[in-house]
Amino acid sequence: MRYADFTPYDIVLLLQGLGVTLALFVGTTLIGLAIGLALAVAHHYRVPGCRPVIVLVTEALKNSPVLVQLFLVFFGIPAFLHIRMSPVEAATLTISLNTAAFAFVVFRSGIESIDRDQIEAAQVFGLSRSQILRLIIAPQAAAFSVGPLVGILVNQLQVTSLISVIGVFDLTKIGNILNLRTLQPFIVWAVIGLIYYLAAKTLAHAGGRIEAALRKSVKWGGI
């Protein structure tokens, strides 16, 4: 066996890399969606002073390269604040915030797509703010948001590959390692690409099912 050959153990390496990628993706997605939702709700209720700050920060996050954000968080912030930050921490922070910015926009338009009329009806029937949020706004905004969110998350899954640059051992980093060892870039990157593709397709498929479930009444054309 030549040094550069593929070995069965490479499968384990790939699975480890995939595991890191998926764990990071799931973690940042949950954090990002939660923050995005909180921002959209704060924006909707015009929490004092919130709107301009939210809009400024999310615009900055949406309109600058994620790689630059990652460098700023990994190299810039530790240097500026004299703190230590591990690659995984930096990656989690950056991608969570980035996802939050995109999710905020989707949730905001989901909330805004709901007719004022219905909310006024709920108000005069005595429902509280939180009941209106939970029972009127949330279900409709969710059904409206799932489609666009799935698109965003499929993209964010690809974006996680950037974290290999700061030394997180994700799927792309494993690809790098295998490539350097085997000098078979075509095979290595084709396989890595295929794995990302399959993960993205699975995600899109699951998203489609969730969306269908949320819109389970086909006749409900109200959104």
């Binding site: 009806a121 709920a122 108000q123 005069v124 029937f125 005595g126 429902l127 006749k219 109200g222």
Partner: protein
């Protein structure tokens, strides 16, 4: 009793309600007439707390709608039927009707649904409990809107042009239901352009003119030559309505 005292409402510089006084006793049906833009909807929206008053005071059974606790109590006492139905599109007819009874009145679900089904039966929609608003015609939606209001067992029904988005046939269906409610002694504040119907069911008619409540008369007197018709503006309004 609903009492409006010297109610004023401003939108920016425009004074839309000018020192309006109105009293609605239990059992009365009071119709508000007036030209488009005269402030009828605004007055209803002040009573149900959708607009904050710029001046004066409104109480419903003694509860001041401009205080937080008062508004909660006032909204329990009254229910609104809207011109454009304002149903919740993601809920069935049954869901629309039972939402507030379950969430606000804290009725058990089964009881709220039994009440809702009885109301739907009464308005001829017994077979449509599971339908979403999009699956219903305008007239059917408005009947759901009426059931939603009645399910709260309100002491006062506020109705703002509830038939103006409906074609004549559906209007007839809805008006028949309202006439039955009036016969049953339901207290109503009613904004409408259906003059003949108003004449038939109202105990009193008030007339708004550019935000001022200029006439408040028992129905028979409102339509009498020496009563409402003696006011040139009202005579003009009524003859224009007849032509339309």
């Amino acid at each position: 009793m609903i009492v409006a005292e010297n109610v004023e409402k401003r939108f920016g510089d425009a004074l839309v309600l000018k020192r309006v006084n109105l009293r609605v006793e239990p059992g009365e049906v009071v119709t508000i007439l007036g030209a488009s833009g005269s402030g009828k909807s605004t007055l209803i929206r002040c009573i149900n707390g959708l607009e904050a008053l710029s001046g004066g005071k409104i109480t419903v059974d003694g509860h001041d709608v401009s205080t937080k606790a008062g508004l909660v109590a006032a909204r329990r006492a009254s229910a609104t039927v809207f011109q454009l139905f304002n149903l919740y599109p993601h809920m069935t007819a049954l869901g629309n009707i039972t939402l507030a009874p379950i969430e606000v009145l804290k009725l058990p679900k089964a009881e709220a649904e039994a009440r809702a089904r009885a109301l739907l039966d009464k308005v001829g929609l017994g077979a449509h409990a599971g339908a979403y608003p999009q699956q219903l015609s305008g007239g059917q939606r408005q009947r759901v809107g009426i059931c939603r209001a009645l399910a709260m067992q309100p002491r006062y029904l506020l109705l703002d042009e509830v038939t103006s988005a409906l074609d004549p046939e559906m209007t007839g269906d809805v008006l028949r239901i309202l006439a039955e409610l009036a016969d049953d002694g339901t207290t109503m504040v009613f904004v409408t352009h259906e003059i003949e119907f108003a004449r038939h069911i109202s105990s009193r008619i008030v007339f708004l003119e550019q935000g001022e409540l200029i006439v408040d008369l028992p129905t028979a007197q409102f339509f009498a030559e020496d009563g409402g018709l003696a006011v040139p503006r009202i005579r003009q309004f009524l003859s224009k309505m007849k032509k339309d």
